[in-house]
Amino acid sequence: MATQYEIPVGAQHISLLEPLHFKFITENEKIVDTTANVFYVHRGIEKACCSKFKFRQVSFVVGRVCGLCSISHTTAYSQVAEKLIKIEIPLRAKHLRMLVIELDRIHSHLLCLSHVAENSGFEALFMKTMQYREAFMELLEAICGNRIQYDFSIVGGVARDLKPEVGQMIMERLKKFKPQLDELVDIYQNNWSLSLKNKGAGAITKKDAMRLNVVGPFARAAGLAIDVRNETEDLLPWKEVGFEIVTGTAGDVYARNMVRLGEINVSMRIIENIIKGLPESALITETKAFPDGEAVVRIEAPRGELFYYAKGNKTQILERLKIKAPTFSNISAMVEGFKGNEYGSVPAIIASYDPCLSCTAR
């Protein structure tokens, strides 16, 4: 009977980007059981949105829940508030929202890929991916005015317009990035030392993915083809600008890397289609109504499905706002996915799940 050891991977750890806490019970370097808790970054945002801020100011508060998927939170909140006050936004505002969502997806996936490479020990690839990501941060600064917390979607439309020279700059940088992306796909797919750490680690089957209700690239890499952009057409026209779903089969770290690289490719095509066919119209719909009733919205953040529920009571302050982050749905799968793996590949597995604790314990 082998001895069992309890090893904490605590809130502060050299390889963790997010304040998670896991306690592993291991036997001879193989993990047998895990427990988790997430109480390190609770800020009380749901309570603040329902007591201190008026409903038009809440879109700025909610954008600061997470630094990487900030545009997904502001767009989802604006959509649910527009359902409560019953207005429709102009067509140019819809296309501009889709443009910034796809640019945000590219930079978030590049960050996750570079973190997986760093935790697998390949530090030069981490620096190379970050160098390619810098071009997109400058593009986002030219469009929205800020590199991370773009206050771009407001209730009723968008805040800024796209100038023609900025559109020109986007097309030039995408043309320069295409051969760089092919080089990255070549390294992640064929490099022998990276595949030793990634193939077969942290695997999950399609049946388990359905049983545990996982979302995002985590589910798509296991073969479960769910994507909110594939399913809803009423609020943002995704199929019109050329969206296609990307799936894998194996469900391990290697398959997740390939799914993320494929999604970057699809996003680049969507951005080119949007800029070529941008319609002319106003940017904001004005109204003086107050929110009433209840509404529900789902949107695809870079990490999975984001869900918002809001209830109004005919005053300036909302009655209840509920946010469900994509990592919240994946926690139980994370805890189950560690079983049977070596303790040494834990940092690479946690990085490939792409957790975002600021969204989870808001």
Binding site: F53, R56, G145, R160
Partner: protein
């Protein structure tokens, strides 16, 4: 093997880092900068104060009824909600100047909280004074009519 040669080639290339703040970085020309106020065009409706999400604008009022504008550039998030809600064009606008850091002598945090409370109190005091004067005038008019 390819990666090995690429890594060797990187030894002879220029580094990619920009030595900020000694070198300049890319700043677009419609950068989100500090907010400026033009006193002559303002109509004192206070809609910018009601719309500001973090509460960076406040108006105080003295006993004659004249209002003064106060703005804190460290609390401001440069979102332009005040400019969008202003009914008079040009009274409040956003420049392209980046905000500079604040020093300890400016007392941005606690000093601003004290100023905010005093400004709200001064507005309540002026409103109460106006109500008292109006009630006195109405009582004086009523006694004249009765006579």
């Amino acid at each position: 093997m390819k990666t090995f040669f690429k890594a060797l080639g990187n030894l002879f290339k220029k580094p990619v880092t920009i030595k900020y703040p000694f070198e300049k970085t890319y700043i677009p020309d419609d950068y989100r900068g500090v907010i400026e106020f033009d006193e002559n065009l303002c109509i004192w409706c206070r809609r910018c104060e009601m719309a500001c999400p973090p509460g960076a604008i406040v108006f105080s009022q003295d006993m004659e009824g004249k209002q003064t504008y106060h703005y804190n550039k460290a609390v401001c998030i440069f979102c332009k909600e005040c400019v969008r809600n202003c009914p008079k064009e040009g009274a409040i606008f956003q420049t392209g100047i980046p905000a500079r850091f604040a020093l300890k002598e400016d007392n941005i945090n606690n000093g601003w909280n004290i100023l905010y409370d005093e400004a709200l109190k001064s507005r309540d005091a002026y409103a109460a004074e106006k109500k008292r004067l109006a009630a006195k005038k109405a009582a004086a008019a009523k006694t004249v009519v009765e006579k």
